[in-house]
């Protein structure tokens, strides 16, 4: 049990240890713990996916994810906010990203969890390359908010809808 907002690295080149991360999220004041695990599926847009390769700009990603967690903790009065993202090769069924939030009641933990993963997906300098079973690959599924907002720094978030 720990307040682990800042102690846990935001990026990890090894398989994510969800059980350990969850064990760090418990808090005596938290009646709700929400865990989101983003996992690699075997198909995307009609293509058969073999694995994903994640790349990140580590300094910017670490800083940004720490800021997102701090903002979420403050906004929803969370006891714990944890986020960790894989880099490197991630196979089908493996976890690419984990977000864990703990709060007194479930509504705050759910809302904060959605906020955190939403902002990570839109803003954190982390990119996936899809490797397909036919041997081809493609950098893909980029945030395309700029096509609507006209600004690469402005996003449209699901948590705001």
């Amino acid at each position: 049990m720990a307040d682990s907002t800042v102690e846990i690295p935001a990026l990890n080149g090894l398989p994510l240890d969800i059980v350990r991360l969850l064990s760090l999220a418990h808090h005596p004041g938290a009646g709700a713990v929400v865990l989101f695990s983003g996992e690699v599926r075997d198909s995307n847009r009609g293509q058969s996916v073999a694995w994903l390769e994640y790349e990140a700009h580590a300094p910017l990603a670490n800083t940004l994810i720490a800021e997102i967690l701090a903002m979420a903790k403050q906004r929803w009065a969370l006891h714990t906010a944890i986020a960790q993202h894989r880099v490197g090769r991630v196979d089908i069924g493996d976890t690419a990203v984990v977000v864990i939030t703990a709060s007194a009641h479930r509504s705050e933990a759910y809302a904060a969890n959605k906020y955190i993963i939403d902002r990570i997906k839109h803003e954190a300098p982390i990119w996936k390359c899809e490797h397909y079973t036919d041997g081809t690959k493609e950098w893909g599924n980029n945030c395309n908010c700029h096509t609507v907002t006209g600004d690469a720094a402005r996003h449209i978030y699901e948590h705001d809808r």
């Binding site: 994640y54 910017l60 839109h122 990119w127 390359c129 980029n142 945030c143 700029h146």
Partner: protein
């Protein structure tokens, strides 16, 4: 000026290279990059730029000793 690019930008440029032309802002840098690969216009228009681990905009004054990181749209998760 040193340039580092990531992800899909590596389909257009080397991961790390240098620009010798004098550029003072990101718009000028984009113009130089387009002379290196004129197919990169769409993706460059969607990118953000960073110097010394902080995002910058076109108002930021670049100098020849900067290392500029070009950040494509995120696709994590």
């Amino acid at each position: 000026m040193k340039i580092h690019v990531y992800a899909a930008l590596k389909d257009y440029f080397q991961p790390e290279f240098e620009v010798s032309q004098l550029v003072t802002n990101t718009d000028e840098l984009k113009a130089v990059l387009l002379t290196l690969n004129d197919k990169a216009g769409d993706i460059l228009s969607s990118c953000r730029f960073a110097v010394e681990e902080g995002f910058i905009d076109n108002a930021f004054k670049l100098n020849q000793y900067d290392t500029v990181v070009i950040i494509p749209p995120a696709s994590g998760g």
